[in-house]
């Protein structure tokens, strides 16, 4: 080890962060020691609420106004925690820079990219606006933005999420920082973009030699880029060490649980004799986009000529990135939005039926949403939410019967039925998704369309929900249409997989065939980006 690598550039000592709220003090961070050496990449891993972001926000003096800090953050032999804003501004944005999770909102929508890039350089580097603009152009080239001369005059809304994150990285590098803090920089991005951004960060670090603190919940990323890892849970560091050691010999139970959280296993196949439950033929969904007055209307083909058949008890996984039309397909199959083509469910053609005619069929075909916060009516009790479907489909039931059925459904999803008079906001994300599942199960459906049911959840909770879905399928012989961008989950749950891109199917087939031997270039890129191949390598090793 060289001297450079052992010099600590940023040393957080016994940092505590408290928030004063109406309901009392929340201890977000409870005495954390984290350091990063020059040129090193350190990852801080944890689930939501573990305090990993707040630790770095506190170090940068970016806490909300009700936040209190204690401890030390040492940079260049001086404590920067609690410095005056003027003194702090000589360090942040210059020596320590940060990129954030939300590329869509982290840039000011009202100014051009060029101006925002130049601002910190003028502020800290003593450059004139003209010099700064020239350097901004170089930086855009450095982070591989296409057409940098044009983009430098562009506004953030004219760029994609991945491009904005590149701009943020360019901004972070502008003043040759010693430390770059990356707070979940790829979480909001599609997997392929995610991989590109990670590669870019790794390459730039190699070239420029700054230290990187990488905050993430994704262990795949950690393994790929980090030298050392800190594992955080409820405001404390529970384990730390070199990446290889953490992954091969985790000591703390929580670390082991995190590592084990990736869903595994395969779905037992369904016999070919099982009847076909759902058949879609040449389903097409088009949206008209208004381009403004007098301009011709632009037609977006969200789902383009897709056909598939699904046997009872099967799971069809639909994967693709955002905007690929996978959610639209799910809704079109349920006849929730106008589509052309033919959909046959239980031998009945349902495409073209109006809402009234669909009503009786709705009992057998259900939908579960991604966002467990948005899909539950906030002013109804859990009991009311779960039993609402019974009001429609089994109107003969008395209030008491409905209540009993709701209790039963709650038990099936492993929730305490005595909580049925509570409201959704009193539950955690995982519990809410269980409630949403209970709402569909109470009707005893045949087909369930699952639209990213695990994407908004932490890994460990994700695994529990996947297990729950698997059990329910086994018990009731359910048929799933599983929509997800998360290839690991799809792999664990599906019989067959359909890969979608821009409304079209690029590849479809049995799950193992797709994952073991992808044919299409895009499928290969997706799987590569999701680092599934790496995991396999490690598993086989």
């Amino acid at each position: 080890m060289t001297d450079k690598q052992t010099r600590r550039v940023l040393d957080i000592k016994n940092l505590k962060v408290d928030f004063e709220t109406n309901t009392g003090t929340v201890n977000a961070v409870r005495g954390v020691d984290i350091h990063v050496n020059a040129g090193e990449t350190v990852a801080i891993v944890g689930e939501s609420g573990s305090g990993k972001s707040q630790t770095m926000m506190a170090a940068m003096g970016l806490l909300a106004s009700n936040g209190r800090t204690e401890g030390e953050v040492v940079y260049e032999n001086g404590n920067i925690l609690g410095l005056s804003i003027r003194r702090l501004n000589q360090i942040r944005g210059k020596k320590i820079t940060m990129i954030f999770q939300e590329p869509m909102t982290s840039l000011d929508p009202l100014y051009t990219i060029g101006r925002q890039l130049a601002e910190p350089m003028v502020e800290h580097g003593g450059l004139t606006w003209k010099q700064a603009q020239a350097k901004a152009l170089d930086l855009l080239k450095l982070v591989n933005i296409p057409e940098p001369e044009r983009k430098i005059k562009a506004f953030p809304y004219e760029m994609s999420g991945g491009q904005r994150q590149r701009v943020m990285i360019a901004m972070a590098l502008a003043n040759d920082p010693d430390v770059l803090i990356a707070d979940e920089p790829t979480t909001a991005l599609d997997v392929t973009t995610q991989a590109q951004i990670l590669d870019l960060l790794a390459e730039l670090q190699k070239r420029l030699g700054m230290a990187v603190i990488f905050i993430t919940h994704d262990l795949g990323i950690v393994r790929k880029i980090a030298d050392r890892v800190y594992v955080m849970k409820t405001g404390e560091v529970v384990e730390q060490g070199e990446t290889r050691r953490i992954f091969t010999q985790p000591e703390h139970a929580y670390t082991r649980m995190l590592l084990d959280a990736e869903p595994t296993g395969h779905k037992p196949p369904v016999p070919d004799t099982a009847p076909v439950l759902l058949e879609a033929q040449k389903v097409k969904v088009e949206f008209e986009l208004e381009n403004g007055f007098l301009q011709p209307k632009h037609i977006l083909r969200a789902v383009d000529n897709i056909s598939f058949a699904l046997r009872k008890g099967q799971t069809l996984g639909i994967v693709g990135e955002s905007g690929s039309g996978k959610s639209t397909l799910g809704r079109a199959v349920l006849n929730l939005l106008p589509a052309s083509g033919r959909v046959v469910f239980q031998g009945q053609q349902i495409s073209g039926k109006d809402r009234g005619a669909m009503r009786a069929l709705r009992k057998d075909m259900q939908l579960i949403f991604q966002d467990p916060f948005g899909s539950l009516s906030p002013r109804m009790t859990v009991g009311q939410i779960i039993s609402e479907g019974l009001l429609v489909h089994e109107p003969s039931l008395t209030a008491k019967d409905r209540d009993a059925r709701a209790c039963q459904a709650l038990e099936e999803v492993s929730l305490d039925p005595s909580m049925r008079n509570r409201y959704p906001h009193e539950f955690s994300g995982g519990q809410r998704q269980r409630i949403a599942i209970a709402r569909t199960m109470v009707l005893k459906p045949e087909l369930v369309v699952l639209d990213e049911p695990t994407s908004a959840l932490d890994r460990t909770i994700q695994k529990q929900v996947v297990e729950l879905l698997r059990d329910l399928q086994k018990t009731y012989g359910l048929t799933y249409l599983f929509i997800s961008h998360d290839l690991a989950v799809v792999r664990a749950l599906s019989d067959t997989v359909m890969v979608m891109k821009k409304g079209q199917v690029v590849e479809a087939g049995p799950v193992e065939a797709i994952f073991e031997a992808p044919q299409d270039a895009y499928t290969k890129e997706l799987i590569g980006a999701a680092m599934l191949t790496q995991r396999q390598m490690m598993e086989s090793a």
Binding site: S65, F100, S106, L107, D108, E123, Y157, G292
Partner: protein, 307 residues
């Protein structure tokens, strides 16, 4: 840009037409007429008057006649101020009201904006609470209370300012009316600015600006305030139209010969042309200011420009 403005102005013509039509018939179905005085006029005189003002013709013809004259920007003769045309009345009074309104608007923007920003920066502190309490007071005390109190205090007791009158637009004569007009607007603008400023200060891009060590001026004014001022701009449209077309209360109390007083006098005396004229003028102001607001919005927010 020019095309857009022209398009918007052309698009306003049907709106104005509808407004004219609705107002015209609404006024005419109401009972009473401009010459129903306490002492009835002689039949002969009445007949002559009706002839001069075309009141003897069917309503439909009158409507068409009015449309014709208004399309030439001629608002017709006044029924009540019989020696004047409506155009003459407006030419004399509108500039005064606009002058007062603009001054009040500028004052309200500057003072209200600064108070709002100051309150947002000290959110939930004593300064915030006092600004907000003062703003609530400003919204709740009607200006016909404020005006006499100010007059009594500054005009009568201290004798610093004239009690009323226009004084041919002398500066001292404008102070009290402008302040009275501006006070409730200051309050509204301060509240609006504070609200949107608090939101802006919490936004991600302001966090970015902080994280990059920018000076407070850049963070607060350049990055937070420019976005936060947008709701205020939206509010300014209707508010400006209302201010510039005169305030009945202020003009009555301070004895200012503005257009606002004609609102009431016209209505009280069934002066059909005066009523119609004010309706059209106010509607035009509303439309023009909505356009100005949209243009300002586009100037401030590139995303709107893009659409």
């Amino acid at each position: 840009m020019t095309r857009y403005v022209l398009g918007r102005l052309l698009g306003a013509i049907p709106t104005i037409f509808l407004i004219v039509t609705i107002s015209f018939f609404l006024i005419r179905v109401a009972p009473g007429g401009p010459f129903d005085l306490e002492r009835p006029l002689e039949a002969k005189v009445m007949e002559n008057l009706n002839k001069i003002y075309h009141l003897d013709e069917p309503l439909w013809t009158q409507y068409l006649l009015y449309l014709q004259s208004i399309s030439q920007l001629d608002f017709g003769p006044s029924f009540y101020f019989r020696d004047f045309t409506i155009n003459e009345l407006f030419a004399a009074s509108l500039p005064i009201s606009i002058q007062l309104g603009l001054s009040a608007l500028a004052l309200a923007l500057v003072v209200g904006g600064m108070l709002g920003v100051a309150a947002a920066l000290r959110q939930n502190g004593p300064a915030d609470y006092s600004v907000m309490a003062a703003a609530t007071l400003g919204v709740t005390i009607p200006n016909f209370v404020v005006a006499p109190v100010l007059t009594l205090l500054l005009g009568v007791w201290l004798g610093w300012l004239p009690v009323g009158g226009w004084g041919d637009g002398a500066f001292v004569n404008k102070i009290l009316p402008v302040v009275t007009l501006a006070l409730p607007q200051i309050a509204v603008i301060a509240r609006l600015t504070r609200g949107s400023m608090i939101e802006a200060l919490r936004s991600n891009h302001v966090r970015t600006a902080r994280a990059y060590g920018l000076r407070s001026y850049l963070v607060i004014v350049v990055h937070a305030l420019r976005g936060a001022i947008l709701p205020v701009v939206s509010y300014m449209g209707p508010a400006a139209a209302a201010l510039l077309t005169g305030s009945v209360v202020v003009e009555t109390i301070f004895g200012i010969p503005g257009i606002g007083r004609y609102f009431v006098q016209g209505a009280l005396n069934r002066d059909y042309t005066l009523v119609m004229g004010t309706v059209v003028v106010v509607a035009c102001f509303v439309i023009i200011f909505n356009l100005v607001v949209d243009l300002l919005y586009a100037l401030l927010d590139p995303r709107v420009r893009y659409d």
